[in-house]
Amino acid sequence: MTENDDLPSLEALGEKVQQVRQKTDKPKPDPKAPRAMMGQAMRIAIDQVSAILVGFGIGYVLDEVLGTRPILMIVFILFGFAAGIQNVYRNAMRMGQSADKVPKETAAQKGGEPNKE
């Protein structure tokens, strides 16, 4: 008697566990998201600034060596600005990639297919 009662309840339990899992899994990324975005924004800003700094440094040193102050400094600051933009662009592309990658990987895991590159 007790065994017959237990058998169907196991399946019901499985369903319940899955329901609870779905509920608990969903709100997980929410609290982290804004802070991660802040971090990414900071990263972009620093990437931009550091490239300009490096451009300025190279131009300054070259000017000292060649005695052509301020021409190369100005040119290399502009190069630095362009390099900074490129850094930012690459980072943004990488962020987009990783955002796309995540659902693919989880989908592959659910399907049980080994995802080899």
Binding site: R35, R43, I46, A51, L53, V54, I58, F79, A83
Partner: protein, 262 residues
């Protein structure tokens, strides 16, 4: 009467030499910064060796912590560098643990945060930069320099593209070091500023003020910044872990670039 407290949030970054060492005119003193580096290395070594000494099937707390750290870095390398990344595991793991413990131990009151100095973070970033460049050169030889000129671009554009790519490449250690140093320095300054508010309010409205019964006012006023400081400390722990993670994952991405070129 007690002395009036002063607000000096940058005092915590002072480097104090503990043992004077002079190497032919070069000041190589053992400073408080060096002391905390030694402490963090000791703590890491202790944690890892004691943690895995039992080799229990069901890990205890310390073993679980060591294993989690190991798997975290191993996964990061596998995902970001690929199968060839496992060679660099010891380096990446040491780097991550050193920065992480430098950041976290720095949050203990009266300790010193060596990652809040740009010289320390720049030295770390420079090690990464030199390693990545050597890996690229060793793997690809002179072909490595094609990294600075993407294939398919018109040759006439070379005078524009090459300097931009070189600057972009050289800016990596700068942005790596500034990011870590700025985050740690800003966070610790903020903590000390609010802690300073507490003592100032307590003194000026409470102990130091004229008349009786004002102590309670000062105490309550001084409590407000302290409550904020508790929240900030929690936030700083998050920043400490996050910045160690960011430094390490960017190192992994640079390694990937050096190994695979584009």
């Amino acid at each position: 009467m007690t002395q009036e407290p002063k607000l000096d949030p940058l005092h915590q970054f002072d480097i104090i030499s503990l043992i004077h060492i002079d190497l032919g005119g070069i000041d190589a003193s053992f400073s408080n910064s060096a002391l905390w580096m030694v402490i963090s290395v000791a703590v890491i070594t202790l944690m890892m060796t004691v943690g895995i000494s039992k080799r229990a099937m069901v890990p205890g707390r310390l073993q679980a912590l060591s294993e989690m750290a190991y798997e975290f870095i191993a996964n990061m390398l596998r995902e970001n560098v690929g199968s060839q990344g496992s060679k660099f595991f010891p380096f990446i793991f040491s780097l991550f643990m050193f920065i992480l413990f430098g950041n976290l131990l720095g949050l203990i009151p009266f300790s010193f945060t060596f990652t809040s100095h740009i010289f320390v973070t720049f030295a770390l970033a420079l090690v990464v930069f030199v390693l990545v460049t050597f890996v690229g050169l060793a793997r690809h030889g002179l072909h490595f320099f094609t990294y600075f000129f993407p294939s398919g671009a018109p040759v006439a554009m070379a005078p524009l593209i090459v300097p931009i790519e070189v600057i972009s490449y050289l800016s990596r250690p700068v942005s790596l070091s500034i990011r870590l140093f700025a985050n740690m320095m800003a966070g610790h300054t903020m903590l000390k500023v609010f802690a300073g508010f507490s003592t100032l309010l307590l003194f000026n409205l409470g102990i130091g003020a004229e008349g009786d019964g004002t102590f309670l006012v000062g105490f309550l006023a001084g409590l407000a910044p302290m409550v904020l400081n508790v929240a900030l400390t929690g936030f700083e722990i998050l920043v400490a872990v996050l910045q160690a993670y960011v430094f390490t994952i960017l190192t992994c991405i640079y390694l990937h670039d050096a190994i695979h070129l584009h």
